[in-house]
């Protein structure tokens, strides 16, 4: 019905607040209300004080674009529906339900306590009131519906990622037990559900109580759920007298719970309402792709104490909602390593809550992040990370785990707390510029096996500078791929050259190990070698080199236009400089390298290439942004995995093997070729399918036949 042309004054259609309340009850309510707000404000102050004990974060940019992307992410719940669509949708229902109900309450408060009292302005009546009621009903249904799904999920579906099992602690460790979190999860759900449902009961009870008044009863269907409850309660025998008592009881429980919730927000997981929003707004577009540079003149590097972290990172710790997406995606955790990105964040959160939440900052020993004590992160955990960025990429609230882990590793490197083999590799790289311990002079040796000379870009200008990288230069298997790429560029008539012994390891993985000094040294040396050469653009077959040159060299003064070979070759084919002559017709699957895919969103070019050469691509379940790391990242290629446990590459081989009729497992990264050819043998799938570098398949399909190409190095 509508009020237009009705008999009654529209002002009659409203809800009288505190109707028939004795004045002491109203006063008491206000007292409780102010107490709740007081508790909320104090809690927020305490949290903000905690965050501000971190250092300033130069990478946080408060501009329109950043704020906009954060708000869009929140409004659409884009990050929450990924890989967990039902939970994401349920959260969206709760978010909007709660949001609308909160706004509704604010609108009432605004009129009752402010505009009407100060200016005599009333607006909560008539048509506006009716639509308001309807909106509140829909919001309530949305809220309660979402919450019920979440309860079903926790209580019956029980996804393993929500059991909070810790891979980084022995079960008898004092901080192994996560049951407090579980209790909090359930309390939070129950409080919200009860607030929602009691609102409807209250509405129904009021309808029965005031059923004789047309301005209440006649508009009952504007709050359909309330009306439904009214009929239900009546059927159960509730009359107007009983409704008065029920209304009073429910009114106080509903109000008390709502105020309790408000007062508890900054002290419980409910704080994510604020922390997650800020976290999303201040998200770094390149969190793991471009690791933090050490400011000029800063002597101590890396994180040792909580107060070394930035305010934003301290806030990240509180933004985590323990959803477990990172826990599920982490290759170290999946293969039984002592690392769950979630537990790194939760441990540090617990440490921060015990150390930074009081009026004074305690002595440094209480702020130490490294160790095996409560809230600390062990070096085994930190070294288990392969910096594949799966955790950062999937985090719905933009927690950036990788920079925290690398910063903590920087401190470990300074202390020399690392695997002896890694230490040796770092020394080797420092001495010889490559991780193979080979002579610098041999870096361009693979090019000798070609039927044409490869230009020395240090001596003559070239159009394309090819940054080769360590594995493609020195690993015998990958040298063959490098030769294939050289033949391909030669066939396309590209004017290209390499830096020969002027090139060093690009440093991407050294930086991710945490050896920042060595990284600076390598980056500066490569940048100066590149700057003294004359070229227009850079290409590489190595996604690791690609990432650091593209995203990190600019911080050191090296601005280069760089492409990975996949997009480079795709363009050559599109421009007609290369022609596909043979359709390979294989059934293949493609492994996205972390540094090409997740790091730099290069998902499409390799797939287009596979299509162009006539391969049938069957995706693995974990593909593109969810690609599963081969285990080589973050310097882990130099550290042997523990004997007797499954390696990430082996885990991946098993996944690929589940594809029926798979012929080729296609890779496009030198380290992937090494890791997966090895894993193919150790998992026993040799003979069932093969691991091939996309470049070699391209060469076959493009029929680049150089007679002398048979010559090898």
């Amino acid at each position: 019905m509508s009020l237009d042309g009705g008999m009654m004054d529209p002002h009659a259609f409203t809800r009288i607040l505190f109707q028939d309340f004795p004045s002491w009850e109203v006063s008491f309510f206000y007292l409780v209300g102010f107490a709740a707000i007081g508790s909320f404000i104090y809690g927020v102050y305490r949290e903000v004080r905690k965050y501000l004990r971190g250092v300033p974060d130069a990478r946080v940019i408060w501009d329109y674009a950043h704020i906009k992307q954060g708000i869009v992410a929140i409004a659409t719940h884009r990050t929450l529906v990924r890989r967990d669509p039902y939970a994401g949708m349920a959260h969206r229902a709760i978010f909007y339900g709660f949001g609308v109900l909160f706004m509704g309450t604010s609108i009432i408060t605004l009129e009752y306590d402010i505009t009407s009292k100060l200016f005599g302005i009333h607006y909560w009546y008539g048509d506006f009131y009716l639509w308001f009621k309807l909106a509140m009903n829909i919001a309530g249904v949305s809220l309660v519906g979402g919450l019920i799904y979440m309860m079903v999920r926790r209580g019956w579906i029980k996804p393993p990622k929500l059991d909070y099992a810790r891979p980084d602690r022995a079960p008898d460790a004092p901080d192994y037990d996560r049951s407090n979190y579980r209790i909090e999860d359930w309390l939070f759900l129950w409080i919200l559900v009860i607030i929602g449902v009691s609102g409807f009961v209250l509405s129904g009870a009021r309808m029965i109580w005031l059923a004789d008044r047309p301005e209440v009863w006649d508009i009952r269907w504007w709050s359909p759920v309330g009306a439904f409850f009214a009929y239900g309660l009546r059927a159960l025998g509730l009359d107007a007298e009983g409704a008065v008592i029920l209304r009073q009881l429910i009114w106080w429980s509903h109000g008390a719970l709502a105020l309790t919730l408000i007062s508890l927000i900054p002290y419980t997981k409910a704080k994510h309402i604020f922390t997650a929003i800020i976290s999303l707004v201040v998200r770094d577009p390149l969190p793991a792709q471009r690791l933090p540079k050490v400011p000029e003149g800063q002597e101590q590097i890396g994180y040792r104490f909580l107060t070394d972290m930035s305010w934003k990172q301290l806030l990240h710790l509180d933004a985590c909602t323990k959803c477990g997406r990172c826990h599920e995606a982490c290759p170290a955790r999946t293969t039984g390593g002592p690392l769950s990105p979630r537990d790194v964040i939760l441990s540090l959160r617990e440490l921060a809550n015990s150390a930074l939440q009081y009026s004074a900052v305690p002595e440094q020993s209480k702020l130490a992040m490294h160790g095996t004590g409560v809230g600390q992160v062990s070096s085994e955990t930190l070294w288990a990370c392969r910096t594949c960025m799966a955790c950062v990429e999937i985090c719905p609230v933009a927690v950036e785990h990788v920079p925290i882990i690398v910063q903590m590793r920087r401190a470990l490197v300074e202390e020399g707390d690392m695997d002896p083999l890694l230490q040796k590799t770092l020394q080797t790289i420092h001495k010889s510029g490559n991780s193979f311990g080979e002579s610098r002079r041999k870096r361009g040796g693979w090019a000798k096996g070609l039927p044409f000379p490869v230009k020395d870009a240090r001596k003559e200008p070239v159009d394309v500078l090819w940054f080769v990288g360590d594995y493609a230069s020195f690993d015998p298997r990958n040298q063959k791929v490098s030769q294939a790429f050289a033949r391909l560029m030669h066939a396309a008539g590209i004017d290209f050259g390499i830096l020969y012994d002027g090139e060093s390891n690009a440093g991407n993985d050294i930086r991710r190990v945490g050896e920042e000094g060595l990284y600076e040294h390598l980056a500066e040396s490569n940048i100066s070698a590149m700057q003294s050469a004359d070229f227009n653009r850079v290409v590489t077959t190595d996604p690791h080199s690609f990432n650091t040159i593209k995203n990190e060299y600019p911080d050191f003064g090296g601005q280069f236009e760089i492409e990975h070979y996949t997009s480079f070759v795709m363009k050559l084919i599109e421009e007609g400089r290369l022609t596909v002559k043979k359709q390979l017709g294989h059934r293949v699957t493609f492994h996205d390298p972390c540094h090409l895919g997740r790091f730099n969103k290069g998902y499409d070019a390799p797939r287009k290439l596979l299509e162009a050469i006539g391969c049938e691509l069957v995706e693995m379940k974990r593909c593109k942004d969810n690609s599963f790391c081969c285990g080589a990242g973050g310097g882990r290629i130099w550290v042997p995995d523990p004997v007797g446990t499954e390696k990430p590459a082996q885990n991946r081989m098993r996944e690929a093997a589940s594809i029926e009729g798979l012929e080729v497992y296609v890779v496009s990264c030198p380290k992937d070729l090494t890791m997966f050819e090895d894993a193919l043998k150790t998992t026993g799938y040799e003979g069932k399918f093969v691991v091939r570098e996309l470049l070699e398949m391209l060469e076959e399909a493009l029929e680049i036949n150089l007679v002398e190409a048979e010559v090898t190095a």
Binding site: E299, V413, E515, E516, G517, E520
Partner: protein, 265 residues
């Protein structure tokens, strides 16, 4: 309490190196210099003494007899925590053998008056194994070579140690201080010197001295102060090996033929 440590910037060779024109050394272009491996262990041992006894101040001083190209090795020591670094050099010291080097080291030791003097058992390039013990000779101090374990409390009048002997034997010794010890690999686990640490150490001063500053005359240094002089350096000719087939008589006959051919008789 002070520990003085002899440091050497040792040389590894790049593959396909070339001999210098004068035939007495390798062409410098092919040098891959790094801190002598043994010195990593002697420095670490000194650092452990320093760190384990935080109540007694221990000064760790590194010294090298070398041109400024060895500064990098000293910086690595400073990065690992050495307190001071001394480098002694001028052209007159060119061509010094281990004895001439030891004379200079001993002169520095007299000036610095340490409680302990550490050197590596040998250097990873020339492998004379002589310098440390020659220092003890010049100083007339107690000494022990190939030390594999060390017990020392700063300020103590003596040091207890275990040294390695041939045939898997060990020997335990008690020496009065000051003493000269040459330190064996494996006595500890040397720490990592991060590149940043080394860069920061670049700001720490290296005391540079000339032979005159430590009371050495020109004829104490270089070839004139040495007992040995390098005549030539060369890659030995590849030796042949073959397995002689047949019965004993046939083998003996073949062997005799080889001997005759080699001796030209």
């Amino acid at each position: 309490m002070k520990i003085l440590i002899a440091i050497k910037q040792a040389i590894a060779l790049d593959e396909d190196f070339e001999i210098r024109a004068d035939g007495r050394d390798i062409e410098e272009d092919f040098f891959l210099p790094d801190l002598n491996e043994w010195d990593e262990y002697s420095l670490e041992e000194a650092m452990l003494i320093k760190e384990r006894h935080a109540d007694t101040p221990v000064e760790v001083v590194c010294v090298t007899i070398a041109p400024d190209s060895a500064d990098e090795a000293l910086r690595k020591c400073l990065a690992k925590g050495a307190d001071r670094a001394i480098r002694v050099w001028d052209e007159s010291m060119e061509g010094s053998d281990p004895v001439a080097i030891a004379r200079a080291l001993a002169a520095v030791a007299k000036k610095e008056a340490p409680d302990l003097f550490f050197a590596g058992v040998q250097s990873s390039d020339h492998a004379h194994g002589a310098t440390g013990i020659a220092v003890a000779g010049f100083l007339g101090w107690a000494h022990s070579a190939v030390v594999a374990r060390l017990d020392y409390t700063p300020g103590a009048k003596e040091v207890v140690l275990k040294r390695e002997l041939e045939g898997g034997l060990s020997q335990e010794l008690r020496l009065p201080c000051p003493a000269v010890l040459t330190i064996q690999l494996g006595i500890n686990k040397p720490r990592y010197a991060s590149l940043r640490g080394m860069k920061l150490a670049a700001a720490k001063p290296i005391e540079t001295l000339a032979p005159g500053d430590i009371g050495l005359a020109t004829n104490d240094c270089g070839e004139s102060g040495s007992l040995a002089r390098v005549r030539r350096m060369y890659v030995p000719e590849k030796q042949r090996a073959q397995i002689l087939a047949g019965d004993v008589a046939a083998q003996a006959k073949a062997l005799a033929a080889i001997i005759r051919e080699a001796t030209g008789s």
